[in-house]
Subunit: 226 residues, 2 copies
């Protein structure tokens, strides 16, 4: 029996390692996509797009390992909850990687002779979103329900940020009709960052549940208005 | 042994039933969200938003059932592939439900005294996206790899539709700056529909893999340009 417990602990440790690796890649992808946007660096944007395959590959590995653990070790209660949480978190991190890739895809579309000014408001929002992802994966690693709750609470600040950027961009479009197409792409970038925050919140809820067995208390889900 | 095989078949049948039920709800949610948008029907939009909880609940049920099947029946090869496919498809259908909910959320934001004309181009795109979802779930039900491949191929038509709508909306914004904010919401609606097509394509790839054990041949993934 001790042998089995040890084997399970090893398996779970491997799962956690894969998720932490995926999370690091996704965090990096967000930062690099925002940098590419900021500098209109097409080469860097292409790298971010290509790099998403590595995140997808780790997700597939998490899936194989989780299914194998459930089938071979038949874990119960807390342990099963943890394996299922890992499986779901991997799928959410993969989605976050897709959002970063989508941001990178827009870099060639905002290229122009004249740098449009609203680009400058986006990096701070990108840092906020990447930080939420970082913090929630730390909470997962430490099985820290309180830290997970904090991440979930910070999402409303990101939503407010998004709403402000939405208004800024619309105003800018009204005043500079020639930039409407580029600003529309920036709207999508802001929306992708806002969605990354939502996904980090989803992970926070999974971490909370895996750690406590209870649903996270309902916060006032304001959500973005735009 | 025969007893076990029969029990497994029952379990799988139940999984398939749940996914077909989820798919029906999601398809309905897309149609009703587009109707609400078209008529600026706030009541209907609120119903679509509230209805998303039912889709989420079925996804949770699929997850519990799939984990139980893997743990109790320890299915091998083809059977395991099918259970894992069901689990992943449920998660994708849940995302599609979220896109429909997001469209419904935008209905109050496009309300105005003057109906803006580009709204009229969206329902046809909505029907195309809902049809892809319908067809891919039929393919899943029939384990029909060829039908799945057809759905995947139809995604480029939806991407082209999206690109055309993006250009139409940007042109309309340039000519009618007073409608920029509303048109921005319509851009997001079109993007949500385009994403529904991407997710239907993801399901098509899973159906193909579950049915054949091989990856779907790479099609030319044009993807939307905007």
């Amino acid at each position: 029996m001790e042998h089995t417990v040890k084997a399970f602990d090893n398996d779970i440790g491997q799962l956690r390692g894969l998720i932490s690796q995926m999370g690091g890649l996704a965090e990096d992808a967000i930062a690099r996509a925002m940098q590419a946007l900021q500098r209109t660096d097409l080469q860097l944007a292409a790298e971010v797009r290509a790099g998403d395959k590595a995140i997808d590959a780790i997700e597939a590995e998490v899936e194989r390992l989780a299914v194998r653990i459930i089938a071979l070790r038949a874990p119960l209660a807390v342990d099963l909850r943890e394996v299922v949480a890992a499986l779901k978190i991997a799928s959410v991190v993969e989605r976050i990687g897709d959002y970063a890739k989508n941001i990178a895809k827009r870099v060639p579309m905002i290229e122009s002779e004249h740098r449009i000014e609203p680009v400058s408001v986006l990096p701070a929002m990108g840092r906020m979103a990447a930080e939420m992802l970082h913090d929630v994966l730390d909470a997962f690693g430490a099985r820290d329900a309180t830290a997970a709750l904090r991440v979930s609470e910070s999402d409303s600040a990101l939503d407010d940020f998004y709403d402000a950027i939405f208004r800024t961009l619309v105003t800018y479009m009204v005043e500079n009709p020639a930039t409407i197409s580029q600003c529309a792409h920036l709207l999508f970038v802001a929306k992708n960052l806002e969605r990354i925050g939502d996904q980090a919140t989803n992970i926070a809820e999974m971490v909370y549940f895996a750690a406590t067995g209870a649903q996270m208390p309902d916060r006032d889900r304001g959500g973005d208005q735009n």
